[in-house]
């Protein structure tokens, strides 16, 4: 009998179970600890029912039924261990093993292989198959996933993953019957930013991890929980560690954050941990050469220089991927001198919202809510590559019927269709947003203190306005690329006005793994009542002491400016895991910092979830955890109120602070009248971007990720087809670009002409300053603020 709450009773193996109408038998069995073997079924993917391993006997049914595709009905009696079922399981195992090679001893899946486990538990010891086995050759599908299609049992999980989760199907079943094989058909890489997940999905050793190939056996590794520091989501993962070395990273299920997936950046970013340029011990510059020194001496020296410095002449820049504890302690130390010159916004150009207002900039909703919204507008966002797992939620919303549009400076490739996609020059972004606001005000008239009379709107703007205004629950999502624009504050204010006018949620995607923590725990100049210098001002100041904490000098900050600032400052202290030529040249004291995986700490993700993590591996050589360095420094400075002895003690204070702060994305509406359209200039406008595999020092050093097509696409100079014709540049022509790279050498790169970029705009490879074509024409680019 079906009860009012849609509950029914079924019996599995004489066990009476209450479940929901529509539940699949295999799910009910899983929930109740009854084991049913399976290969093709996966709870996050659609049902294929092709492997026949999960067949069960249902009373009244003439044949065995696949439990993954059969819904439970009231009073159903199911047997999973009857003679008929066991005989069928044996037959299916024999069938699946027909073409499977006996290469378990050299297979990376060995020890965690469903085929091994099920053959052992449900298979038979011999086979009547005497014919020749089929051979499927492996193919190269990129630097991340190793293939051995000989081992494939055609469960098609990887194929379904492409269609249903990554949103772009790259693998397919080619051919038919006994000669079908999983393939990309043409010789190409699997380029999805989530491609690593097919390694986990593959129940056999057909798809394995390429970077960790042959490194360890499943039973040799110790699994330790970790939080991934490579984007603002903080995906949960398990590190697999052998002899104090991370071998691989696998997802840890957390339905509130990353479900059971990991982006490739999270999965393979750790490889940069073992880069050759790790700093091994503290070094100090004496008479223009570097000497090893002890931790005690170096921190005493640092304390001495800090004490001697004029409080307003101390400056501190900190990477936004640092832990809460590091941010909290460092900002507390700086502030103990009465100094507020500390900032994490290293690449931001516009600080006009740098007010005392506690502006926290977070996502504004949790991920479940994001999945349920029915309209999303991306503003200056390449979300698919910026925060892959966040984009996965938007993709889920799309599958639930949401309409999505985008306004950005490049036409990005999303894995869902867009209602409208507007590409505009960076200086025109404000105009586009104003036009949308104007259209919304036509649909929903209301009073807004902004003059929109001279704005001309088009059909596209009207469609976006309609999409927002007619939705039940809509989101205006300001992406991380906006942070690099000279008009950031104006864009943010307009997004806020658009969301207010259309009754949408205003979501801001943080640019670093711990942007929120940096704001909550003091790595901003407006944290206390006295306004300090922001990163731009710090870089322009004549400082006594400049502290540079946990970021790369080449890409995480404008390297010209940091070189100038460092050469002007009297004493430069670098605390970083990796060395750099710029640091070597301009710093006075360099201290080796442990990476996130080598430290305990916590981070706050974009949904304001505080996530703690433990030290998983010992720090490299003499490097030390950030919180230890900073506590020792506080001790050398004889500062009170640093009585912490462990990370949990610090975290007690952090929780108090987090609870006191109310998060909001409000903008300072006072400045609204200052928003204006900039005059177009003859010069090319540069489009800067946070690139997918350049956003974190460790990711930057992960060689496997740097070999992907996604990484390579950022090494090309891109101009529009019209401009290319005007300048006489051919496709893939090699041109030299002068970069602000370490030694100011010219690098040769190829040109890509594209209609994804607006006219008179130029996308330069990371770190490049300007381009010289054929050594005579120079594309002049507008000097950014």
């Amino acid at each position: 009998m079906i009860t009012n709450d849609n509950k029914i009773n079924i019996t599995i193996n004489d066990k009476k179970i209450c479940c929901n109408v529509g539940d699949k038998i295999i799910d009910v069995a899983d929930d109740n600890g009854i084991e049913i073997p399976r290969f093709c079924y996966h709870k996050k993917l659609s049902t294929a029912a092709s492997c026949r391993m999960c067949l069960v006997e249902i009373e009244g049914a003439p044949k065995l039924m696949p439990s993954c595709a059969t819904q439970a009905s009231d009073n159903m009696v199911v047997q999973t261990k009857s003679d008929k079922v066991v005989a069928s399981q044996k037959a299916v195992m024999e069938f699946l093993l027909i073409n499977h090679p006996l290469d378990c001893p050299i297979c990376d899946q060995g020890g965690e292989c469903s085929l091994q486990d099920n053959a052992f538990s449900y298979g038979k010891t011999d086979s009547i198959f005497k014919e020749d086995k089929l051979v499927n050759l492996s193919s190269d599908i990129g630097p991340l996933v190793a293939t051995n299609f000989n081992r494939c049992i055609m469960c098609t999980r990887c194929v379904r993953f492409g269609e249903e989760i990554s949103g772009h199907r790259e693998l397919g079943g080619i051919g038919r019957a006994n000669t079908i094989e999983i393939s990309t058909y043409i010789n190409k890489n699997v380029d999805s930013e989530l491609s690593g997940n097919i390694i986990d999905l593959c129940p056999v050793g057909s798809l394995t991890s390429k970077p960790s190939q042959f490194q360890a056996r499943a039973w040799e590794v110790i699994k330790k929980p970790a939080i991934m520091p490579f984007d603002c989501l903080g995906s949960n993962a398990n590190l697999h560690i052998k002899n104090n070395k991370i071998i691989r990273v696998l997802p840890r299920e957390n339905n509130d954050i990353n479900e059971m997936w990991l982006s490739d950046r999270d999965r393979f970013g750790f490889l940069g941990q073992y880069s050759q340029d790790r700093l091994s011990n503290p070094i100090i510059k004496k008479d223009k050469s570097w000497h090893n020194t002890s931790w005690g001496d170096s921190l005493a020296k640092m304390a001495e220089k800090l004490k001697q410095a004029k409080s307003s002449n101390i400056g501190c820049l900190i990477g936004g991927n640092s832990s809460n504890e590091e941010i909290f302690l460092l900002s507390k130390i700086i502030r103990s001198f009465g100094c507020n010159n500390i900032d994490y916004r290293l690449l931001q150009k516009d600080f006009s919202d740098n007010t005392k207002q506690k502006n926290t900039n977070w996502l504004g909703l949790d991920l479940k809510q994001l999945e349920q919204c029915d309209s999303v507008i991306h503003v200056c966002s390449n979300l698919r590559k910026d925060v892959p797992m966040l984009n996965h939620r938007v993709f889920t919303a799309y599958k639930n019927g949401a309409k999505i549009s985008s306004i950005s400076n490049r036409l990005y490739d999303f894995n869902y269709p867009l209602v409208e996609q507007i590409g505009c020059k960076p200086s025109n972004t404000i105009f586009e947003l104003k036009a949308i606001l104007k259209e919304i005000l036509k649909i929903k008239p209301q009073k807004i203190a902004i003059n929109l009379d001279d704005i001309v709107s088009t059909k596209e703007h009207k469609n976006i306005a309609l999409q927002l205004s007619t939705a039940q629950k809509s989101v205006v999502m300001l992406g991380i690329q906006a942070k690099l624009l000279p008009d950031y504050t104006a864009i943010k204010t307009l997004c806020d006005l658009i969301s207010q006018a259309s009754n949408s949620i205003f979501a801001i995607v943080p640019e670093y793994a711990n942007s929120l923590g940096a704001k909550l725990y003091g790595a901003i100049p407006y944290y206390s009542d006295n306004l300090g210098k922001n990163s731009e001002q710090i870089l322009k100041s004549n400082l006594d002491v400049l502290i540079l904490y946990n970021f790369d000098s080449e890409y995480d900050i404008n390297s010209d400016k940091i070189q100038k600032a460092a050469s002007l400052a009297k004493f430069v202290i670098v605390i970083n895991p990796y060395s750099s030529q710029i640091w070597q040249e301009y710093a006075d004291l360099i201290l080796p910092l442990a990476t996130t995986f080598e430290s305990s700490g916590s981070m706050v993700n974009c949904c304001n979830t505080l996530q703690k993590y433990q030290q998983n591996i010992k720090p490299y050589k003499y490097s030390q955890e950030g919180w230890r360095i900073l506590l020792t420094l506080a001790d050398k400075l004889s500062l009170d109120s640093f009585k912490y002895k462990s990370v949990p003690e610090i975290q007690n204070d952090l929780t108090d602070i987090q609870q006191k702060i109310i998060l909001n994305n409000d903008t300072n509406n006072k400045d609204i009248k200052k928003i204006g359209i900039k005059n177009n200039v003859d010069d090319f406008e540069v489009i800067n971007e946070f690139a997918i595999y350049q956003n974190h020092p460790m990711v930057r050093r992960s060689l496997a990720l740097q070999k992907t097509n996604d990484a390579a696409s950022y090494n090309k100079l891109i101009i529009s087809l019209v401009d290319a014709k005007l300048l006489g540049i051919k496709r893939d022509e090699k041109i030299s670009i002068t970069t602000n790279n370490i030694d100011h050498t010219k690098i040769i790169t190829s040109v890509q002409q594209s209609d994804s970029i607006p006219d008179s705009c130029i996308f330069l490879p990371n770190g490049a300053k300007y381009a010289t074509i054929n050594n005579n024409t120079t594309i002049r680019v507008k000097e950014s603020i």
Partner: protein
Amino acid sequence: MINENSKGQIDKWIAKYPKGKQRSAVIAALRIMQEQNKGFLTVELMDAVADYLSMDKIAVYEVASFYSVFETKPVAPNTISICTNISCMLSGSDDIVKYVEKKLKTKIGSNTDDNRIFLKEEEECLAGCCGAPMMQVNHKYHTNLTRDKVDKILADLK
């Protein structure tokens, strides 16, 4: 890639399906493109079909590689398919296959040396059992085959 004539034909097929289900026309589209290209599909043609029907490219490759009517490697413009299923086999299709192979100096699944005739891979039942043994030459059925009849058909091809 897709010429105007083919576009018109594909559009007719798309119109047969509900709006937004244009991918249902993939088999028809591939057949039309194979005809346009005189007998076989290329990756470029399949990509064009994928773009035209807003499908993932791999999904088109899957369909093209699944059905034996689609040739994904270059073949000669004239195609001969000899049925070797049960009715035809009982009526002597094996002999016909051997005879054709010998006469054209090629094997099932290959082109002739002058690249004029393609002998299609083992063909399943073409639903002409009442006229067994039979074969299909460039979409035309020839039934009740004998060696003499085959000679005449092949001579006509020249």
